[in-house]
């Protein structure tokens, strides 16, 4: 069985139940499944082969979900692309994954116009929402998605008999920031995603009556998990994937009688830090689920004080684990503050030292995970795979302590990875881009604590002339070459970098001095 069966089965059980509700439209399970089948049939007509990679570059929720399951029904592999992107980033990922077909919206085609001659694997694109004649894309066939949704495709008996891969086949490659600065593709089989989906449904006790507020994009592994668990449960997703205007989200939550919401710390900081929230009542709300870094204790307590009857699930995971690894049971919210809880069903978590030996109780060790949810490796990268997938399990790079009851507490990370909002960001990628600017001699990028985002990106620069350079030009250079969420919030000019005993840049020292500077 493959994960696309979740949609097929929910459409059989609950054909007229709303699967996705947006402000101006909704889809029932019957409609969503029919759309997914049409996309699968179109992919067949484009001679897609099992295991071929198909990209999704979309921020239209219903189209995204239909495309996701359609690709899997065709036996292909989903590569969901971050819509906050640049032509440069897209080119890198399309080439690395060797994407042969892309489903997208008209507004994103502009990214491809600059790189069409440098992405040889891409041969066909389905475009949703054509509003004017498309630009010419050298040798790449463009099809209006209205044509993709043509019923006649469903006559393809070969396709209907096939309907997708099974648990050992690759279902999805999820691109995430690598410490080297180059994106890495996390390879997940149907079986990995199914194991994690079943476990998450179990501990969150999801039922078809759930009405979940989805504010996270589906292309993130957290959003992906929310999508899979709710489609599998036959539940309803109320989707508005932005918290920029908190009142808009709170209005939707109240109007739609949502039963739960998932988010990263900045989601809850944006929604619940405003006094406005006290004017709302959510009588059906069952739980808040938070992952993606530590939630400020201040906001956690505010949420609990404002909505004492609502459970709060603190969760921890990694894209490499499909993604959930642990959760803190809501009953332990007051008893175990700061904990990420214990392993979810089907997962084993150990704390090991650098030699792979279990650490003593109370000592710090690296979290190592085992379970059917763990990835197969990094796409075309056996070297990096061997570094994290070892005989003990998945070495997460997260350092933690365990208390006498087995509850874990994260104390740090082995890598320099910055966690800002829902994003994991490799400093090296930003440093490399900054070094391409002619005025920059050296760059050190790091995260500084921020109440809303968890961390913000700060860059310290040494210029070739030793003084300041045009800060605006440097920001523009970053903006042109990096997705918006990777552009530093602050740039500081320094004459030299402090170093550690072994001659490396002492980023902790830079971090502390920058944090002081920013406070002032």
């Amino acid at each position: 069985m493959g994960i696309h069966q979740y949609l097929i089965e929910s459409a059989e059980r609950y054909p007229d139940r709303q699967a996705i509700v947006e402000v101006h439209k909704s889809r029932t399970y019957r409609e969503l499944c029919a759309d997914a089948k049409k996309i699968a049939a179109w992919l067949f007509s484009e001679s897609i082969a099992p295991g071929d990679r198909v990209g999704i570059l979309m921020d239209d929720p219903a189209e995204y979900v239909a495309s996701y399951f359609g690709i899997l029904m065709a036996g292909a592999v989903v590569v969901a692309l971050n819509t906050q992107t640049t032509s440069r980033t897209l080119k890198e990922v399309i080439n690395d994954a060797e994407i042969s077909i892309l489903v997208t919206q008209f507004k994103f085609v502009r990214y491809l116009t600059y790189i069409a001659d440098g992405i040889p694997s891409l041969r066909a694109i389905s475009v949703h929402g054509f509003s004017s004649p498309p630009p010419s894309l050298l040798g790449i066939k463009l099809t209006d998605s209205a044509y993709v949704y043509d019923e006649s495709y469903l006559q393809n008996k070969e396709m209907l008999a096939f309907l997708g891969g099974s648990d050992m086949d690759i279902a999805q490659i999820v691109y995430t920031s690598g410490t080297s600065g180059k994106p890495k593709g996390v390879v997940l089989q149907h079986g990995n995603l199914m194991a994690n989906t079943c476990s998450t449904i179990r501990y969150l006790q999801l039922t078809p009556d759930e009405r979940h507020m989805v504010v996270l994009p589906f292309f993130y592994s957290f959003g992906n998990s929310v999508m899979l668990t709710h489609i599998a449960a036959g539940a309803t997703m109320i989707v508005h994937q932005s918290v920029m205007y908190p009142k808009v989200v709170l209005d939707i939550m109240q109007r739609e009688n949502v039963t739960a919401i998932s988010g990263v710390p900045s989601t809850f900081a944006m929604l619940f830090s405003t006094p406005l929230v006290k004017r709302y009542s959510f009588p059906c709300m069952r739980y808040f689920a938070q992952a993606g870094g530590p939630l400020s204790p201040k906001y956690a307590m505010e949420m609990k004080n404002t909505f004492p009857e609502v459970d709060i699930y603190i969760m921890y995971g990694q894209t490499e684990a499909s993604p959930r690894l642990s959760y803190l049971h809501p009953d332990d919210f007051y008893r175990k503050p700061g904990s990420i809880g214990r392993a979810i069903p089907g997962v084993t978590l150990k704390l090991l030292d650098t030699k792979g030996r279990p650490v003593q109780a109370g000592d710090v060790g690296e979290i190592v995970a085992c379970g059917q949810n763990i990835m197969q490796g990094y796409w075309k990268d056996p070297g990096r795979t061997a570094m994290v997938l070892r005989k003990e399990g998945l070495w997460t790079g997260d350092l933690a302590k365990m208390d006498e009851e087995g509850h874990l507490y994260i104390v740090g990370r082995k890598s320099e990875m910055i966690k800002s909002g829902a994003h994991r960001i490799a400093p090296k990628e930003i440093e490399e881009i900054m070094l391409e600017h002619p005025a920059v001699k050296a760059a050190a990028v790091f995260g500084v604590a921020d109440e809303i985002l968890g961390e913000i990106i700060v860059a310290c620069i040494i210029t070739k002339t030793g003084g300041d350079c045009d800060e605006k030009a440097l920001f523009l250079h970053c903006k042109q070459n990096l997705p918006g969420f990777k552009v530093p919030k602050h740039i500081c000019f320094v004459e030299n970098f402090p170093t550690t005993g072994n001659g490396k840049i002492d980023k902790n020292s830079l971090k502390n001095s920058s944090a002081e500077l920013l406070k002032g």
């Binding site: 932005s242 920029m244 808009v248 406005l276 605006k472 523009l476 903006k479």
Partner: protein
């Protein structure tokens, strides 16, 4: 009144171009462009925009005024500020 509108729009455009788009190219931003839809401003950028409105125009923004109709384009922001200043909100 016309000059007040022009001056307000110019200040807002300058702030958006300099702080979120990092460019002097006036053509990069149309006054009706949606900040959210075009990906010009994100959630934290919105907090910066609100701080700018408060500092530059001495205009307080209530929580329930943080909605697209008031803040999601140069035209919307300008209209919001001018309406607040004339006491029509």
């Amino acid at each position: 009144m016309q000059s007040a509108v022009r001056e307000t729009i110019t200040k807002i455009r300058k702030f958006i171009l300099e702080n979120f788009m990092f460019t002097d190219d006036e053509a990069a931003l149309r006054n009706e462009d949606s900040f959210l839809e075009k990906g010009i401003i994100d959630s934290t950028g919105m907090l910066e925009l609100m701080a700018f409105i408060s500092d530059e125009f001495h205009t307080t923004i209530d929580d329930d005024e943080i909605i697209p109709d008031n803040l999601d384009s140069v035209n919307h922001v300008a209209s919001f500020i001018l309406t607040k200043k004339t006491g029509n909100i």
